[in-house]
Amino acid sequence: MNQARTLITAVLCFVAFGPPAAAQTRQAIDVSKLGPQVGERVPDLSLNDQNGKTRTLGSLMGTKGVMLVFFRSADW
């Protein structure tokens, strides 16, 4: 009886307050899962380069493609 009551209380608490703290635990970042994966297509871009020229992926490609190097900053 006691057990059943505890269970009911737990269920009610869950319904009332949402999942307990464990479900809120933050997922550690896994950079290998972020962004387009091998085989997937990347979005095109349109950005100015250091000479003020607007570039798209098409204008950056060699005969086979391009390597995009995302870096933090040139300023610090």
Partner: protein, 293 residues
């Protein structure tokens, strides 16, 4: 990266950097370091977001979850291991990494690191893309059953660089050496002697072929053609590591190549070959770009 720009071009690959800096900052940076390939200005980080690699940890570090232990680990990995106040400047930056994209905009390779201060060298990437440039500083070793060439991907590295120690092996005519998965034979492997502040990643093997040995009705994975093993190495970049590495002018790696070779008739004794590589050490660039007026 600039030093290898021509090698990327030779493989038909364009090269472009992307950051949240203004075109003026990028122009100054290019002048200072002689960068000729395009550096793209993603002010506002719209492209970084569209690629799904915005550094969200910086925002978390400034948010409600500040005290969280799991978050603290990611903050030191992706925001700053040096300054607790860095989150504000890191906001809007990407998780650093590289995408290689083909003409149809499909990703063919990606290179991302688990720690923001570690980065693949361009030469290391070229090797992992296959081929790479002709070695500058190769050591050649001949044994009875194989010709071995070793060289580092880079002649000079800085703390935080991920680079490769390369072992090229050409089995003698009609001979083969055993690849991973071969049972009952000594599989080719490389052991590098450990040293402080240097981390070894698992040895990279190329695809092998199956060899059919009729007398034993046996199918075994082997290498018969010239093949290359890559031992990737990270020169660590913690405060202690940088301090220790600063005292040194170079890093020397020693290790052993072990393999067993057989030909169509007989197997030779397992062989053990001492190996060594030396790379010069340089400091990281830490000075700021001059502020454009």
């Amino acid at each position: 990266m600039q030093a290898q720009a021509n090698e990327f071009a030779a493989r038909g690959l364009g090269l472009a950097g992307i950051s949240y800096d203004s075109p003026a900052v990028l122009a100054e940076f290019s002048r200072r370091y002689g960068i000729t390939f395009p550096l793209l200005s993603d002010e506002g980080s719209a492209t970084i977001k569209a690629y799904g690699i915005l550094n969200t940890v910086a925002y978390e570090a400034l948010g409600a979850g500040k005290g969280d232990a799991a978050l603290a680990a990611d903050v030191s990995r992706y925001v700053s291991s040096l300054s607790p106040n860095a989150a504000n400047v890191v906001k809007g930056t990407p998780f650093p990494g590289n995408f290689v994209i083909d003409l149809r905009r499909r990703v063919t390779s990606r290179f991302f690191e688990d720690y923001y201060r570690e980065r693949d060298t361009a030469a290391g990437i070229l090797l992992r893309l296959g081929g790479g440039s002709a070695p500058v500083q190769a050591t050649k070793i001949s044994t009875a059953h194989a010709a071995i060439t070793t060289y580092p991907s880079d002649l000079e590295v800085a703390p935080g660089n991920r680079f490769s120690l390369v072992i090229g092996i050409t089995p003698a005519p009609n001979a083969h050496v055993y690849a991973p998965g071969a049972k009952g034979y000594r599989v080719v492997k490389v052991d590098i002697d450990p040293q402080p502040f240097v981390r070894m990643l698992p040895l990279q093997y190329p695809a092998s072929e199956i060899y059919f040995f009729k007398p034993l009705n046996e199918r075994v994975p082997v290498y018969r053609k010239p093949f290359t093993l890559l031992q990737e190495v990270v020169a660590e970049v913690s405060i202690e590591a940088e301090k220790a590495l600063e005292q040194k002018k170079s890093l020397t790696f020693t290790g052993t190549l072990e393999y067993q070779a057989c030909d169509d008739r007989e197997c030779f004794n397992p062989a053990s070959v001492p190996l060594s590589w030396t790379v010069a050490l340089r400091k990281n660039i830490t000075e700021r770009s001059a502020r454009p007026k």
